[in-house]
Amino acid sequence: MTKQVQQLDRVIIRFAGDSGDGMQLTGDRFTQETAAFGNDLSTLPNFPAEIRAPAGTLPGVSSFQLHFADHDILTPGDAPNVLVAMNPAALKANLTDLPRGADLIVNTDEFSKRNLAKVGYAASPVEDDSLSEYRVHALPLTSMTVTALTGFDISKKDAERAKNMFALGLLSWLYHRPTEGTLAFLEKKFGGKPEIMKANIAAFQAGWSYGETTEAFSVQYEIKPAEHEPGLYRNITGNIALAYGLVAAGVQSGLPIFLGSYPITPASDILHEISKHKKFGVRTFQAEDEIAAVGAALGASFGGSLGVTTTSGPGIALKSETIGLGVATELPLLVIDVQRAGPSTGLPTKTEQADLLQAMHGRNGEAPVPVIAPQSPSDCFDAALEAARIAVKYRTPVILLSDGYLANGSEPWKLPDVAKLPTIEPNFAAPSPDGFQPFERDPDTLARPWAIPGTAGLEHRIGGLEKADVTGNISYDPANHDRMVRLRQAKVDGIANDIEPLAVDDPSEAARVLVLGWGGTYGAISAAVRRVRASGRGIAQAHLRHLNPFPANLPEVLRSYDKVIVPEINLGQLALLLRGRLLIDVIGYNQVRGLPFKAEELQGVIQDVIDSE
């Protein structure tokens, strides 16, 4: 039958099911198809910390949201237009996010009395009129899959498990997605189990054919490719981009990378990814704990590697003393904090920006550390390179603040020209006839020499005890300590002259209100800013990449606006720094729900401030 084709400019789909239903995989495949088709896109995986919470319960619900469009988009979207609910728990957990009129695809096979009771439904919402404000497509996805797979030599359980591929096939038809990538993926994933592979491909194709032939879907949608700059693209998550950035830092500096890490959500994928790339000479070390992970990285840096450690907030707490040692010994060290909701264990799989003050101040003594935050998943690559540049040039630990949203979220990435990536010069110390002083500083950067073992004539001792200026001998002299504390601070402060000034985006050139963000909120703030401008209001936007030191022009920028709004997924940590350091008051907007901001809520916040002017 010929179906009507309707053009859309953008769609937000959320796949939701039990942790064991393969929703992350389904979402990821749909994303890859969408990327290959050429839409712009942004994704938001959302999964429980438990690997397998009890089946069919609310805590076990896992979801994957994908926003794709024929134009440049910035966020995974506020609310889904389409919800795929594989069981009653997935329906109940996600229904409140669904706007009226949205499409709802429900797997009725899972709506048994028992499964309904598990989440407190007295009757099936599919059968009464409680879903009347949505366009409900009640489909027996599991049994259709099993039927489609009769004749395959696989267990009933394996057949049922392929229902996510049936759903993916159906959605792929509904939105005109190319299927080659998914077919190739299934062939590779199940290469060792040919019957399972064939069954999953058959389930995928059955889902597609079902869409084509059923009367349940009368309309097929088309979202044209987005306009992108010419180039080679791939889809990338923040964690993979960060891993690539670290490998690139090794290549661009000629320094061997040594990654010391201890598994922790949501940072572990960086360790996993880098572990695959040993052919770059990268050493990965899964340590006995967070402290050993950073200790080994610092020890490797002492030996002339670029030491890196990757973790999340609780791990940073454990590493604090060693980061302080890195400050005292003035060695390069990269500390990656993929922030998650705290305090303590908090919400391990949910995002937050509440480690900024820990990164800035979470050490004993005066221990300044440069802090850098990427603003989007693909930007994690550039931020890692920039962090490495500063660490090596200034002989200092650098903290990079990613977050759970950036880590697992994805977007299309135009691959950089490798030949144009910045190079990083290690500039190891070499013997000189004038002798060697381990704490004699470069007059421009105030960095001390990096003299590595194996270099004859530069034998020296470093450590956590205060060092005499220039000679590096132990010194308890009060004036020397005061001088060294100020020198270390001045070294970090001086980086402000070596970073890009803060850029302000204000097409109207007449805005009186500035919205200032940092890190992973860039997409949501930018999307909100577009909406505010579309409403006819003027708003200026700036986003901080360098949190320490701040760009030199920051005070001037902030003072040129009547009001400055600072949205953060914490209780006002950047706001505190701005007020404390610059004596500039700002209007904070703060939410800590473990989720990224929604563009619509920020739009309201910004417009309220503008309208109160």
């Binding site: 790339h277 052919k279 006995e288 001792r461």
Partner: protein, 358 residues
């Protein structure tokens, strides 16, 4: 004794010297001294160990710039400041972790860790056991004085039960660690004990440790004359020391005593008992086998010290061959290059599903 130490490095065929560059220049003890004033208490056992290390290192003929001393926190951890090599005085308990990163990324270095009983067995216990199980190429000198010195006299994890100190006026409640039992339990590949007052023995053990590729743990009984004086007096007092000190030599029957009238015999449960040589058939006397891959015998020897100092073995308990951590890691890097070719950044970035927009 010294033959035992020297012999093993050569026997296992890939001693330390094969990877650390050697020098043709003649070195002396003076070359290893720094201009820094040594600041231990007068009479401290640390002086003897420092002198022993500085005077034996020239024998190795290693380039001085390829030797690194890493320490934690405590009196003994000041050691690197007095060694004219590369040195890193780090933070409490973490020296094995920091040294792991250094030794794993730099197989051309001879990396020595200097630590104390509090540093390595309390705050840093975790790092010590993991360095041992990984067989990281480190020489760990564990200065055991059974007390906290730098913090002025609290009990340590090797202090005897009931120890009266500033923090335990009614006696400590904690059963002590036996560092060697712990190290052998972690399957350390080189485990030895020596004593600060016997320079000849100390140097022979250090020599063997230096030759060992992998983790060498050397417990050094070291006297703190301020807070725990005479802790090892039975092993030093000329009137009794030969009767309580059991000197272990690989391949030799374990016989001891001033007149060599005592010996060790294995019991049916696997432990050792002390017997009179005269009372037993020579075939019953245990022969020390430091190179047995099974750590059971070495462990049983380490338990002989209970109760303390009735019979205390010193020497090399265990010295076995197992690939070191850096070798294993380097082999993986080499294998990756051999099977996949050298890393190509552009190829890495463009891996996976890509699409081109013209």
């Amino acid at each position: 004794m010294s033959e035992n130490g020297n012999g093993n490095g050569a026997a296992n065929g890939h001693g330390l010297l094969s990877l650390v560059p050697k020098t043709d220049e003649k070195q002396t003890m003076k070359d290893f001294k720094t201009d820094q004033e040594v600041r231990w208490c007068p009479g401290c056992g640390d002086y003897a160990v420092l002198a022993a290390v500085q005077s034996f290192l020239p024998e190795l003929g290693l380039r001085r710039e390829n030797i690194t001393f890493v320490s934690g926190i405590g009196c003994s951890s000041r050691f690197p400041y007095y060694m004219n090599t590369y040195g890193f005085h780090s933070i409490h308990g973490r020296a094995p972790a920091i040294a792991t990163g250094l030794a794993t990324s730099r197989p051309d270095l001879s990396v020595w860790v200097v630590t104390g009983d509090g540093d390595s067995l309390s705050i840093g216990g975790n790092h010590l056991i993991h360095a041992l199980r990984r067989n990281v190429n480190l020489k760990i000198l564990l200065f055991n004085n059974r007390i906290y010195g730098l913090t002025k006299g609290q009990y340590s994890p090797t202090s005897e039960l009931g120890k009266i100190t500033k923090s335990t006026p009614m006696g400590s409640l904690d059963a002590p660690f036996n560092p060697l039992s712990l190290a052998i339990g972690a399957e350390g590949t080189f485990v030895a004990r020596t004593i600060d007052s016997d320079r000849k023995h100390l140097q022979s053990v250090l020599r063997a440790a230096a030759q060992h590729r992998g983790t060498a743990l050397v417990e050094i009984y070291q006297n703190c004359n301020i807070f725990n004086d005479n802790a090892f007096e039975p092993l030093k007092d000329a009137s009794v020391r030969d009767d309580v000190t059991v000197r272990l030599e690989h391949g030799e029957p374990i016989v001891f005593g001033a007149d060599r009238t005592k010996a060790l015999r294995r019991t049916p449960t696997g432990s050792f008992e002390v017997v009179d040589v005269a009372d037993v058939d020579p075939s019953e006397i245990a022969v020390h086998d430091a190179r047995n891959p099974d750590p059971s015998q070495a462990f049983a020897l380490s338990r002989l010290d209970q109760p303390a100092f009735e019979h205390t073995p010193i020497g090399i308990f265990r010295d076995v061959d197992r690939p070191s951590y850096d070798e294993l890691m380097r082999a993986q890097l080499d294998e990756a290059v051999q099977t996949q070719g050298e890393g190509d950044l552009a190829a890495l970035l463009g891996s996976g599903d890509t699409w081109r927009i013209d």
